[in-house]
Symmetry: C2
C-alpha cells in the first residue's frame, strides 16, 4: 500500500510492504496550501505515479488533506480511538488510478470538558505507541503542539498548546522581537527560560522579562529568542506534565524541535524518548492493516 | 505648576493649584511617537502656551517623554521609592519659557530577581495610593499591565504583564483572529474565559480552546474575542494575586478596561476599587510638592 501524510505545508509519501516496512519514500513542499484550485487528484498522481505504475493500488491519506480546506472533509472520530476505530471510519475518495481513502481526525475534550480536535497527529501517535503496549504519553511539538495519552493502543485524551504560533507572533509582531538577533536556540538562555517558567508571576509576566532583562543588560540580543522559547516551552511542558511527575514522554517530530523539548522535559523532572522519522508511515500501515488492506 | 503625563501615544496636561487641585486640563494625541524630529520643546509650548502666558513657570513631566525615545533620558530610581525619592532625582531640561523637569522612572526586580522597569505609572500609583496610608496593591491594565505594591507611601515592588499586547497579537496575527467578529467585550463569554483561566492545562492550551470551541460550535464568532480576553486577563489576575486572596486592588486607567479587570478580580475572589481620571495629576502634584515646587 501507499501511505501519505498530507499536511498544510508538506507532502510525505511512503511505499509500504505487506510486512509494514517502508520500501520507498518521497517528501516535498506540496502541502494542501500549495495545491491550486483543488487539484489534489492531479497532485497525488504526479507525486506517486511511479508507484502506481509499479502496481500499487491502495492509498491511505492522513492529515489536513481530510479537512474542510483539503480534498474532502472526513468527520472526526471520538476518543478513545486507535487503529481499529479509525479504520472503521475511513472515507473513500474517487480516484481513477487506485483506491484512495482518508483517515478521519480525532475529537475529544480535555479534562475540563473543552473541545479538542486533531488531524494527522493521531496516525503518528498510533504508529509510535504501537511499540509500547502499556501505553504512555506522546508529544508532537510544533505550531500547535499536541499531547496525547494512549492506553491499550487507543488515544484516550489529548490537548493542544499554541506554543509555536505564540512564539512566532510574539517574536514577529510585538516589542519582544525588536531587540532579537539570531542566536543559538538551545543554549544556556533556553535553559534559563525553562527554569523561569517554574517561577511565580505567570506566563504573561515571564515573557515581559525578555524585554526587561535585555534593557537591564542581563540578556543579550542573540540570546533573547532562546530565552523566550524556553519560557513558552517550559510553560507548555509543566502544564502538560502536571500531576504525572517522572513520566516518559514520547516525542515525535523534527529533530531540532524534539531536541529542545527533550531538554525542557528533562529539566521538568520527566524523561523524553525521541522518535524521528517515520511515525506516520507506521501509523498508516497499522490503520491499513486494521482495515484489512494488507 | 503644570503637570504633564506624556506617554507614547497621548499627551495630557494639568494646571495644578497650590492646593494640589486641578484647575484646568487638556489632552490630545501628541504622544512622543507623534512628535517629529525631536520637536518636544515646540510641542510643549504649543500645548501649554496659554498657561505659560498666564504666569505658570514650573512644568513637571512624567512618562515615556523621559525615555531614550523621548526628550531626554531620565535614569531609573531603584525601588522602594515614593514622591520624595522621585523628587530628589528630577532631571532638568533646558526650555526658554519655564523651568521643566522630568520625573525619573522606577527600576526593581520581581520576587525571583528578574529585572523590572516602569516609566509614568509610578506617578499615577503614588497619586492614587496617597489616599491609602496603609498602602495596598495597584493595577494599571493595558498593553503592558503593571501591578505595584505600596507600603508607607513608597512603591516597594512591581511586575509587568504583557497582556494587552499578547491579546492584540493573538487576535491580529494568529489563527485565533481569523474567526473573530466584533461582539460585547464584557459579557458571559468574558466571564467564561476568566473561569477557564483557573482550569488545568496552562495558558497556551487555554488559548487554543478559543479555536477548538468555535469549531465545535460551542462559541460564537462574536464571543470569541471576549473569551480570549477573559482567558488572558484571568491568567494575569490570578498570577498577580497569588498568595494574597481577598485583597483590595486599586485599578487605575481607562473606564472600559478597569471595568473588565474589576470583573475578573471579583471572579478571582478579590476586591477592586476603580480610580479613573486624574491619578497622574495627583501624583505630579505630590512629586512637585516633595520637590518644594508649591
Amino acid at each position: 500500500m501507499i501511505g501519505v501524510d498530507w499536511g498544510t505545508t508538506r507532502f510525505r509519501a511512503f511505499r509500504i510492504g505487506r510486512d509494514g516496512a517502508v520500501r520507498d519514500r518521497r517528501a516535498g513542499p506540496r502541502g494542501i496550501l500549495a495545491v491550486p484550485d483543488g487539484r489534489f487528484a492531479e497532485t497525488l498522481r504526479e507525486e506517486i505515479g511511479p508507484w502506481l505504475a509499479a502496481g500499487e493500488d491502495q492509498v491511505l491519506l492522513s492529515g489536513m488533506i481530510g479537512s474542510r480546506q483539503g480534498w474532502k472533509e472526513a468527520p472526526y472520530v471520538a476518543c478513545p480511538a486507535g487503529a481499529a476505530e479509525l479504520a472503521a471510519e475511513l472515507v473513500e475518495i474517487p480516484f481513477d488510478w487506485a483506491k484512495v481513502k482518508l483517515v478521519p481526525g480525532l475529537s475529544g475534550t480535555d479534562e475540563s470538558g473543552v473541545a479538542e480536535v486533531m488531524r494527522g497527529e493521531e496516525t503518528e501517535v498510533i504508529g509510535v505507541l504501537a511499540d509500547f503496549p502499556a501505553g504512555g504519553i506522546a508529544c508532537l511539538p510544533g505550531t500547535h503542539s499536541k499531547w496525547a495519552r494512549v492506553e491499550d493502543g487507543r488515544i484516550v485524551r489529548f490537548t493542544t498548546h499554541m506554543t509555536g504560533e505564540t512564539y512566532a507572533t510574539l517574536r514577529g509582531h510585538t516589542i519582544l522581537g525588536r531587540m532579537m538577533r539570531e542566536g543559538p536556540p538551545d543554549g544556556a538562555a533556553f535553559d534559563a527560560g525553562v527554569r523561569r517558567s517554574a517561577e511565580p508571576g505567570g506566563l504573561l509576566h515571564h515573557v515581559f522579562g525578555v524585554r526587561a532583562e535585555t534593557l537591564a543588560g542581563r540578556l543579550s540580543d542573540g540570546d533573547a529568542g532562546a530565552y523566550l522559547s524556553g519560557i513558552l516551552i517550559g510553560h507548555e511542558v509543566r502544564a502538560a506534565l502536571a500531576g504525572t511527575p517522572g513520566t516518559v514522554v514520547h516525542l515525535i517530530g523534527a529533530p531540532d524541535l524534539t531536541a529542545l523539548y527533550a531538554r525542557a522535559i528533562a529539566a521538568c523532572g520527566a524523561f523524553a524518548e525521541r522518535h524521528n522519522g517515520e511515525a506516520a508511515a507506521r501509523g498508516l500501515a497499522l490503520i491499513g492493516a486494521a482495515a484489512a488492506w494488507n
